[in-house]
């Protein structure tokens, strides 16, 4: 029994028989019997064919593993057509009477060597892209078909020195139980594929190919990156048990994917997800989110030299709204300042940035910046169910001023004959004690509340949680915080408006029963927390918990609150 170690990509155990994918051996003839022009024509035809085949591959990949994988092959088309490459190949053909295959091999190898000598993972990745393109072009020139693992019929673990995107396109996860390669790391194509398709992989295992034969039995432990070759029966049993447990846990969650979020006694709740960029949308939908409860828009403003234009913002909001197909998308307006800086905006030096010039305060001061975002949001509202959420509210005045600006923008858009949702909902993030205490007033003039618990806890307990000396005081179980949450939900009910929560507390299993008892309408959590949260909610009874709310609110210390809630869930 041998053990090898690499980088595990998914934290799961898998096992099976080895199928070795040998590297394509290219037999090339150097000298050509054709004229230079004929060889150049063969090369151009091969490039055309390459483009057609790649386009088919992209379609297939998009269906199975998503956009990112497809963009790799799109990059291949760009590289194959690259004028430096095309010119160099043509020159090589013109200078001596060699075959197109030979010229392609030489030119691509030269470029690949240049990249692999750069000692940078991203660059050496490009070297393997070039080798992949080279092999495919030569196969096309020779009229041969590439061996692909998508044609395998028997379940196996594919072991190879490297896997190229073209070899992995269209693979079937019911057949391929795992992938192990000698090269690659966390950012390689194979890693991305493994994550997108949920195929376990262990990459970067040195000497792998000399350690395994076809038909060997191997266990892959993605957590530790271990590969155990031909293990004893005891070891197999042990790992089978682990694997079964992992599968059970996953199956349990999959049951909840397409279910409604509903308590044991039939109360329907809304379970949304939080996102930071449109890239998070697929994982949100894959996990069965019923909407976006918090779309942070800061990414649009960061890592760039200037403010994003209305058009750029509009495209992003529209993309998310359309992807959600009518499900609610709550978009938080710019929440900059505090610890989030912008390189092109001059923030004043402040002693207390968290108590300073940030979020809605900047937006209402620099209305020209705010209006660009509002226009983009309103325009995008014509393409889905967008709701606007204002951060850092401390009084009614900010809501009124923001709504005045929204009305101004609506008028402008109407004049310009641009479509938008006239009844777009405008709500607030309840994340300051001032807002939480006065939710009875604020609720009269907005359409929804969303509790932002991270800031609410920080401002209520007056604790910077990065400060080790006092960070233990930062806790949602503080009775003051608990009462502010309760007050907010109660006042939402009195005003007949929707109330949700988008902070970390919404996915805290000890807090969820309390929130259900209060009557919170919506929980917005990180994508991976959606299914466990839905499962937990389905096991709780609103009627029973409602009876306990007052008792919980009467508890006198954080410890009492925590112990009570902990007992509640283990009952």
């Amino acid at each position: 029994m041998l053990t090898a170690i690499g980088t595990g990509i998914l934290n799961v155990v898998s096992m099976g028989k080895v199928f070795r994918l040998e590297e394509a051996e290219l037999k090339l003839t150097k000298n050509s019997t054709l004229t230079t022009d004929e060889e150049i024509k063969r090369y151009h035809n091969a490039n055309k064919e390459f483009k057609v085949l790649s386009a088919q591959m992209i379609e297939e990949i998009k269906k199975k593993s998503g956009e990112h994988e497809a963009s790799i092959i799109e990059g291949h088309i760009l590289l194959a057509e690259d004028i430096e490459i095309v010119n160099t190949v043509e020159e090589a053909l013109k200078n001596s009477s060699i075959s197109a295959e030979w010229a392609v091999a030489e030119v691509f190898d030269n470029f690949a060597n240049m990249f692999s000598s750069m000692d940078d993972e991203l660059m050496s990745q490009r070297a393997s892209d070039l080798k992949d393109i080279k092999t495919r072009l030569i196969y096309i020139l020779q009229g041969k078909k590439m061996e692909s693992i998508k044609d395998l019929k028997e379940q196996c673990i594919v072991v190879s020195r490297d896997l190229t995107p073209s070899q992995t396109s269209g693979i079937n996860k019911d057949i391929i139980l795992g992938i192990a390669t000698e090269v690659g790391g966390k950012t390689s194509h194979t890693a991305i594929l493994s994550q997108a398709m949920e195929i376990p992989a262990i990459l970067g295992v040195s000497n792998l190919m000399s350690s395994v034969k076809n038909g060997d039995f191997i266990i892959m432990d993605g957590k530790t990156g271990e590969i155990i070759i031909n293990p004893s029966d005891d070891i197999i049993e042990k790992y089978k048990k682990i694997s079964e447990e992992q599968k059970d846990a996953k199956r349990l969650l999959e049951i909840y994917k397409d279910k409604e979020t509903i308590t044991k006694d039939g109360v329907k709740l809304h379970l949304f997800g939080n996102i930071g960029t449109p890239n998070h949308v697929p994982s949100l939908l894959k996990n069965g989110a019923e909407g976006v409860g918090l779309f942070r828009t800061e990414f649009l403003y960061m890592d760039r030299p200037n403010f994003p234009t209305e058009e750029e913002q509009f495209q992003v909001y529209k993309e998310v709204a359309e992807a959600l197909e009518g499900k609610p998308v709550i978009i938080r307006t710019l929440d900059i300042g505090g610890d989030k800086d912008l390189p092109y905006f001059d923030f004043p030096d402040e002693d207390n940035p968290f108590l300073g010039y940030r979020a809605i305060r900047i937006c209402l001061d620099k209305t020209e910046i705010f209006k660009v975002q509002l226009r983009a949001l309103l325009r995008a509202s014509a393409y889905g169910n967008i709701r606007i959420m204002l951060p850092m509210i401390v009084s009614l005045i900010e809501i009124r001023k923001s709504k005045e600006l929204i009305e101004e923008v609506k008028k402008e858009l109407s004049k310009e004959n641009i479509a938008f949702n006239k009844d777009i909902e405008v709500g607030i993030m309840v994340e300051t004690p001032a807002a939480a205490v006065s939710t009875d007033i604020l609720g009269k003039e907005c359409d929804f509340f969303s509790l932002g618990t991270n800031d609410l806890i920080q401002y209520t307990t007056a604790v910077d949680r990065g400060n080790d000396k006092i960070s233990h005081l930062y806790t949602e179980y503080n009775p003051g915080v608990m009462r502010l949450i309760a007050n907010t939900v109660n006042n939402a009910k009195k005003n007949n408006i929707f109330v949700g929560m988008c902070g970390e507390v919404a996915q805290n299993k000890y807090m969820i029963p309390f929130l259900i008892g209060l009557g919170l309408d919506e929980f917005s959590v990180s994508p991976t927390a959606i299914l466990p949260t839905r499962k937990l909610i389905s096991e709780l009874s609103y009627k029973e918990l409602k009876e306990k709310v007052q008792e919980i609110l009467n508890l006198e210390t954080s410890d009492e609150v925590f112990n009570y809630l902990k007992n509640l869930i283990s009952e």
Partner: protein, 87 residues
């Protein structure tokens, strides 16, 4: 011929993705488009050329555009760089 300099703000420099976004945006113009990077002239329509130049965050690059559609091409370059090259 038009010339204009830009400072690259992409954190990892012009690696594959941003370079790809740039090439896609300009490759169909008829004008010749070159980049001057530390006095080396690079073919801007070539993904390989750009990646091989190892342009880092904070580097200044000068675009040299020459041809019948040079105004449109320069405008496209400005737009795509200002948009952050897809990042």
């Amino acid at each position: 011929m038009l010339k204009k300099s830009f400072v690259i703000e992409n954190k990892q420099g012009l690696h594959v993705r941003p370079a790809g976004v740039l090439v896609k945006a300009i490759k169909d113009f008829d004008s010749s488009i070159k980049i001057n990077h530390n006095d080396k002239i690079i073919e801007a329509k070539s993904l390989l050329g750009i990646m091989g130049a190892c342009i880092k965050c904070g580097d200044t690059i000068e675009f040299q555009v020459d041809g019948s559609d040079e105004n449109e091409a320069m405008k496209a370059i400005e737009e795509v760089i200002e948009s952050g090259l897809g990042e």
